[in-house]
Symmetry: C3
Subunit: 143 residues, 3 copies
């Protein structure tokens, strides 16, 4: 059993989904772990993680539209707006999605379903440098 | 320390919650792990995982009703409808719940609370074969 | 590689967010694990976990207000109300947030972002004793 950890830095350019599947898969490969788990953790409170449909861009457009309408920037009772109208909305969209995910590994690869991709979901209008930590735990050879 | 992994296949028959607690507990038992964690991962983007009240069926009815109203099939701005009106709604309901869960193990058993059950939440109208991966990591004897 | 597990008990006094970061960090420290992961699991279905902005109380006020409006107590179609009007709403708010989180550990500390705190999100009006399980898995020395 071993553990291996690496960070991923990603530059976001406004609201939307940014795929990170290949970056996570690369860390799994470098870890040498054949059987175990990969955990993904995002170190921010105004962006989040989702595992989502990776085949059709329209699914992600609908997702983004849905969140804009569920947590609109012009919500009149929000008080936490010191960083602009996308301040509280960003935190709430983050809470409604995820900060961490755990994905199984077999034969040295992430066991994602056919249509699953891992995405960073940026909730801020402006560009941000986001940081994720991927931790891999498992055995180097299959038993 | 060891790792043990098994898949669960489950046939769903339309929208609703399907309990998988016993299937996960069975894998924990077969793993021989006494102290550690079990991770549950669903390999789909139109169904999801929830840990939910297991005692009273009415709680799950309210949950399902709430999600139908929060993300209605007839939402007029959805564009990802190639697989029918439950296409984008399924993905969004999935994002609002979970793809992965991690549950602690002690004395060889899942440390769920009294009222907690693990459920697959199917968001599609039609029957589907769903696949989950359960990974168990831990020690065979308590320290 | 080792695993270490402890419970946290917390008394809640009505709806709101209760920070548990220090309690989780204390368990990581006592575990002796330098590199690995900490998993946090809440053993209840009417409270939940969120990783949230820890600097400005107004962000948490907005979060709580948002959830009150998204899942109002007086929702007319709820049937699971045997424990009062905050019964089904509590379960649904829990489902929209999280039961488990996984946080990476490096140099013996949780790798939280600058503004991230771990919170128990209580959805019940009355006081409750809540129980969490923190499991730490990893290596005692860095490789």
């Amino acid at each position: 059993m071993k553990t291996h950890s690496e960070s991923i830095g990603i530059e976001t350019k406004g609201k939307g989904t940014y795929e990170i599947t290949d970056a996570v898969e690369g860390i799994v490969k470098r870890s040498g772990v054949a059987t175990g788990i990969a955990t993904v953790f995002l170190q921010h409170t105004s962006a989040s993680l989702v595992i989502f449909e990776n085949a059709d861009r329209s699914a992600r457009v609908d997702l983004e539209q849905f969140f804009e309408r569920l947590v609109p920037e012009d919500t009149d009772y929000f008080t936490h707006t010191s960083e602009g109208p996308d301040d509280s909305t960003s935190h709430i969209k983050m809470v409604l999605t995820r900060s961490s995910e755990v994905i199984p590994i077999a034969e040295g690869r992430l066991q994602l379903g056919t249509w699953q991709g891992i995405y960073l979901f940026e909730h801020r209008r402006s560009s941000h440098r986001r940081r994720l930590v991927v931790s891999v735990i498992g055995e180097e050879r299959r038993e």
